[in-house]
Symmetry: C2
Subunit: 328 residues, 2 copies
């Protein structure tokens, strides 16, 4: 969507639909796309997010909100690009109503693929490192087929996202639909829901309040944490890559930390007196997770995350400190 | 559904819905259930089966046909049990329209679970050994999480069936729906569609015609072949097990054969002059498959397959020889 004609750079203004646009990642993505000059339509039902995330965007004439469920087909909407993010993302949220989660994951992708097909639009699906389940390999590359229990409590999300990828590739093979599939690894930053139960929001809130920090299991399980700005940069590059690369591609930060290390860092950076308490590990909780991001680097113009965990937490902690928690 | 009261055995006559009841397995199952005295409703759209399979059942007052798509919700039907078999099963069939396959797999289970919930009926889902994908282990037990490509050409079936299991277990956890999940390994016998492209039907037809037998790849890949009567016995036992065992449970014959061995056996038993020709192996074709059936044995009253491949072929070859192929 960027072209040089007789030395002049042309920049195409597009109409872009972002489902789940009021969520944590969506809130950043919508702002980025608006800053790039595009018209942005946010489709969301606010089931796992707060209106605060997009409050000041509503005054922007280039931004509009469709308050509806992604399970409802969307007809006769003209769009050039679709980012499909609508889906609960934190384990407590997606396990709260597992049947709703799997329907959202499946029907959401299906409806958005139909819309993309009607518009000849490009659709980017926010898939997840959870397609790898509880991985047997230290570092997960895109060719790894995963280790997912399809009957366990996380399956509503993991299998919903896996079959979402299946639909994406089948639409591409059958109709030539222009698809992009990204597998997002744990991401954090401002606009996370304070009560979504993910580890970064939990630990920061607990540390700020000075209450016990809840470590599940031994705390030796690992995650790699990506700051949201790095993710959004990767998403935009993936959507607009000019080689037609469809993925799947991992987007994550390969820096790997145990939950204990994360807790210690949060305590240090918040100057907190909180202590660690150990609670039972939830069923099927992956023991490790770390992305192989070589494909992203090769295909997306040398993309790699630039924000360290310490730097990202330094931007995230003030956000949580500033929240009026009574609103959530 | 069988109870001894004061020494007298009571046998409950039930209304049983069989989706995909006109298909290969369904044709056997409907007959078995009718023979057991039950009322049988067959729901089918005949997309991968022939009306011949159930032709003479239509005259039976205890049998009725609902000719419709399992993607359409079924309301206000009173049933005690549901066997959900509606789904294309052979690779050429399910890859012919992959999007239709994955929708059938997903929406079919969802609709039947809703019906089961309304009726407080027990629902048995015909899942598959394909949830294990191209397995890394010599023998697949129910705890093995599988090796499935969620983006490849078989994913429409494999992931459709995996997410179907997810829905089954989530309905069970959330609503207490009485579920049964079986993972069927390659099964063969009379009433297979002669042109469904599966290996047993292909080889037998080719041998009977005396044309080349089409071996894909080296022919060294293995499958375990179960005669359909053994499967149906296992299905009925699983549906009616009185311990409340919900599965998943493998139903298959652990006898493992290479495709070359199968071809040789078919040639021998048909006295055919056919020769083997080697064609390219389809993408993602599993290299081996063999069920661990210890759980089935323990949970289903010592169930194990009793028909050898040679015995089963001896019943299947005459069926194919007797077909008027111009009707298919
Ligand atoms: N943040 C991460 O670490 C991470 C990791 C992997 C994948 N992802 C994926 O990225 C996407 C965004 O995640 P997030 O972290 O921003 O989560 P989030 O919960 O903050 O945002 C999800 C948004 O989708 C909306 N939504 C949910 N169900 C909906 C429905 N049925 N109809 C309409 N809107 C609906 C919610 O209201 C919310 O605004 C999700 O698809 C998630 O699976 C995120
Ligand atoms: N036979 C095997 O080796 C095997 C192995 C594993 C699993 N299974 C499963 O067992 C079940 C039966 O398999 P089969 O071998 O009898 O296959 P089949 O193709 O002979 O039978 C499937 C039946 O379902 C019907 N059907 C398909 N899509 C439908 C739809 N959308 N609405 C209504 N009816 C529809 C077809 O018309 C057909 O009658 C399938 O669910 C299959 O996945 C079979
Ligand atoms: O208060 C919490 C929340 C989460 N976790 C652990 O932190 C890791 C990441 O959890 P999260 O829910 O953020 O995301 P996941 O990667 O599991 O989807 C997991 O091992 C959780 O068990 C924890 O120790 N304490
Ligand atoms: O219409 C546009 C074109 C480009 N970009 C941004 O510019 C970067 C570079 O664009 P692109 O990848 O298309 O060009 P390249 O870097 O390959 O020359 C992208 O990552 C986007 O962040 C954008 O936001 N909107
Ligand atoms: O004409 C045929 C059809 C199938 N096959 C092979 O036989 C095996 C079983 O194939 P089928 O389609 O029956 O079932 P699958 O187990 O692959 O779902 C696979 O390795 C196929 O590649 C073959 O060699 N010739
Ligand atoms: O209403 C009935 C009850 C029993 N059976 C058959 O009888 C066998 C034994 O029934 P069940 O498992 O209920 O009794 P058990 O063998 O445990 O005494 C089953 O596998 C079925 O094949 C049947 O077809 N219909």
């Amino acid at each position: 969507y960027q072209r040089r004609v007789h030395g002049v750079l042309w920049w195409r203004i597009m109409r872009i639909l972002v489902t789940g646009g009021a969520g944590f990642v969506g809130a950043h993505l919508c702002r980025r796309l608006l800053a790039d000059g595009h018209d942005v339509i946010c489709l969301d039902n606010f089931s796992t997010s707060h209106r605060n995330n997009i409050a000041e965007l509503l005054a922007n004439p280039k931004f509009s909100l469709m308050e509806q469920d992604v399970e409802t087909p969307v007809q006769q909407l003209q769009v050039d690009q679709i980012y499909n993010l609508a889906c609960p993302a934190s384990p407590p949220h997606y396990q709260h109503d597992p049947i709703k989660t799997v329907k959202t994951a499946f029907l959401g992708v299906l409806n958005m693929l139909e819309l993309a097909r009607q518009n000849d639009a490009t659709i980017l699906q926010a898939s997840t490192s959870e397609v790898y389940g509880d991985p047997e390999c230290a570092v997960q590359s895109e060719t790894y087929r995963g280790c997912v229990s399809c009957t366990g409590p996380r399956a509503c999300y993991d299998e919903g996202k896996r079959v979402g990828e299946t639909l994406m590739f089948d639409y591409n093979r059958k109709y030539g639909t222009k698809i992009r599939v990204i597998r997002i690894f744990n991401t954090y930053g401002p606009w996370m829901h304070p009560y979504d139960g993910r580890v970064v929001s939990n630990f920061i809130l607990q540390a700020l309040k000075g209450v016990d920090i809840t470590v599940y299991g031994t705390g030796e399980q690992t995650r790699s944490f990506q700051y949201v700005a790095d993710l959004v940069e990767g998403m935009v590059r993936m959507m607009n890559n000019s080689t037609g690369f469809i993925g799947p591609v991992n987007l994550g930060n390969p820096g790997e930390f145990t939950m204990k290390q994360l807790a210690d860092l949060v305590i240090e950076m918040t100057n907190s007196k909180s202590k660690l308490v150990y609670l039972p590990l939830p069923q099927d909780d992956p023991t490790k997770r770390c992305p192989d991001i070589r494909v992203a680097g090769q295909q997306l113009g040398g993309w790699s995350p630039s924000v360290t965990l310490r730097e990202g937490l330094a931007k995230t902690i003030p956000y949580f400190a500033s929240l009026d928690l009574s609103q959530y």
